[in-house]
Amino acid sequence: MLLAEYSSKELLTQYGVKVPPGKVARTAKEAEDRCAEIDTRKYVVKAQIAAGGRGRAGGVKFAATPSSVRNEAEKMLAAQLTTDQTGDQPQTVTAVYVEAFVDHTAQYYIAIVLSPDTGQPTLLASPNGGIDFENLAKTNEGTVTTHQLSGDANSDKAPLIEFLASIGIEEPNAADQILSASDAFIANDMILLEINPFARKPDGHWVALDAKIAIDPSALFRHPELEAIATAQNLPQEESDAQKSNINLVKMTGNLGVVTNGAGLGLATNDMIIDEGGRPANFMDIRTTATSMDIARGVELLLNQPAVKAILLNIHGGGMTMCDTVAEGINFAYSRNERNLPIVARLAGQNAEWGRRILVERKVPVEIFDDLSAAVKRAVSVVSGGAS
């Protein structure tokens, strides 16, 4: 769960990280009016979306006067922004952040993550911060150096100062801010805290010019205040509806709806569809805790998408999700939805025979295959207008 820049900065400021003065605005007029509250000679207008790669996609503009701030905000608001990191889902810009432009002499990339090996917070740093950092890091493996933190500011301080000096950051105020960021990282269950760029002002003070925070969605139960921010701006509606029904759904741009149980089987099914020349409308992972009513709601989310022309059902029953539970869910969804889309089904594992019988007896428009490849081929042919 990614926080927008202004939420990230608001949170970091509470822990002592320095950010330029700035205000969030939801209309172009508000953006212009807010300029009066920001003491600066030049402004930066930044589209607020919960994804990175914004600078390269035209989501950051400089403006010399409040009226040009207004113009830039006008263009950004309500526009759809597609960046390297939004994937298939362009994000609508519903807010802009107006910030003082800060002159700087160096820009670093700084991030804190939990190390997959040790589980402890780890600092990643590079002297090549800025909007081209991601591309640079992709092509050049030596760009980033890492430094292990413990999360205890007292014992972390001396080794951190030494590490920062080794990469060219000499000022103690930088170390203090990184320790503050580390405190914020731990206290808020962050799984990513990225400051890019972390910039040195001519007076030697460091400042976070941009900030991106990802909170662990599994830990939101202890951060109700962050949950409110997340629901206000994050997942597409269908995906958060699916989450409530114990289904992980990711919308894609194709026309073949996919119903599968298990993340791995879902990924494997989509690979096979695309290998076969088809285009999945979604990724689906029915979690083991889902009931047949949950599954019905998940299937309805697909039936309600006009782009979806047919559904491929690929279930391996086991654990607590049996094939008959899924078949009942399909049946519920079809019995209360007007779109009677063709289903190509392949059911294996626990209660497979029972599941098939439910689909056939309840007159769901299903074609059943034993072989997964045959089912995938057929489903792809159905959406591309193939005869039965």
């Binding site: 994804a51 990191q85 939004t86 994937g87 298939d88 991030a111 993550v113 939990l114 997959p116 040790t118 589980g119 402890q120 917070p121 991601e134 890091a137 992709k138 999360g151 731990i186 269950d189 799984i191 990513l192 990802a214 662990d216 969605p217 599994s218 830990a219 139960f221 202890r222 992980n248 990711v250 894609m252 599968t260 149980n261 298990g262 993340a263 791995g264 089987l265 879902g266 990924l267 494997a268 989509n270 690979d271 096979m272 695309i274 290998d275 990724f283 992972d285 979690r287 083991t288 805790t289 391996h316 029953g317 086991g318 654990g319 607590m320 294996a348 594992g349 626990q350 997964l372 490849s373």
Partner: protein
């Protein structure tokens, strides 16, 4: 023989009295797993499914000589349960709870660092030694004893692949679900080492997916040793959109790269035979065994 579990395993279940705890304990007992105790704070002194229930893991171990634990505890309390089992010096802890907060795993990793306990999971389907012992959530209908070792990041794909092996009369020595989370215990490398030492295992199948570093580390390990047994891998998510979480937390790669294709390339250079999709796994395994025998 197999790895990690067997006839000597004496299992206790943390969270035995809940719906899932009851279900999986009952299934394990029916499969023949030696279950000796349950743990549920506040319910000590009672019995559940015919097993004695204790307040703490320490009490359960003292009374029943349990050496392994299955953790079926709601995610917010799962880390504390795992740490309790580590501190009681159990040989093996299997955690099937989903959505354990990653910062809770910081504490678990620290507790593991100076202990002898092996942690499998969280968000794991568990471990199955076909015909002998089951600790976890997997269906057993299609399992068959034999010589294929499976280590997997995905429960559903393990069931799928295992059913195909059994249909082709290729039994399994042990299947291990290492879990779908970024921060987890036992990884592919440790599984490979154990399968390598296990005389019953003749070939190892890795089931991976995009995200994380497991496949790359397995490739590094296999490049650095003369492994001696064929290794086959299926890596899914070849066409998944980048930057989205696809069910498992571990599929979201915040630090770029880690695509399925990168992993396939790394494994291929380490001599691993790649199965293109689930239909291809049995065929690829037979081919690998032919190569190994020629």
């Amino acid at each position: 023989m197999g790895i990690l579990i067997g006839p000597d395993t004496r299992l206790l279940v943390q969270g035995i009295t809940g719906r899932a705890g009851t279900f999986y304990t009952d299934q394990a007992m029916r499969y023949g797993t030696t279950c000796v105790a349950g743990v549920r704070p506040g319910r000590g002194g009672t019995t559940h499914l015919g097993l004695p229930v204790f307040h703490t893991v320490n009490e359960a171990v003292a009374e029943t000589e349990a050496n392994a634990s299955l953790v079926v505890v709601p995610a917010p309390k799962a880390a504390d349960a795992i740490i309790e089992a580590i501190e009681a010096d159990l040989d093996l802890v299997v955690c099937i709870s989903e959505r354990v907060p990653q910062h809770d795993m910081r504490r678990v990793k620290a507790a593991l660092a100076d202990s002898k306990t092996i942690l499998v999971g969280p968000n794991s389907q568990g471990i199955l030694a076909p015909g002998t012992c089951k600790i976890g959530v997997m269906p057993t209908r299609d399992a068959k004893p034999g010589s294929i070792g499976i280590a997997s990041r995905s429960a559903s794909l393990t069931s799928e692949v295992l059913a195909r092996f059994s249909a082709a009369d290729l039994g399994q020595s042990t299947t291990v679900g290492i879990g779908g989370d970024v921060l987890h215990g036992l990884g592919f490398v440790e599984c490979l080492k154990r399968f390598g030492d296990d005389p019953e295992t003749k070939a190892v199948v890795l089931i991976g997916e995009l995200g994380g570093r497991e496949e790359e580390e397995a490739a590094n390990y296999l490049s650095s040793v003369d492994y001696g047994k064929p290794v086959i891998a299926l890596v899914v998510g070849r066409h998944a959109p980048v930057g989205r979480r696809m069910g498992h937390a571990g599929t979201l790669s915040l630090l770029g790269a880690a695509t399925a294709n990168d992993k396939i390339n790394a494994l291929t250079s380490a001599g691993v035979l790649i199965a293109n999709d689930v239909n291809d796994v049995v065929k690829t395994t037979l081919k690998a065994q032919d190569l190994a025998n020629s």
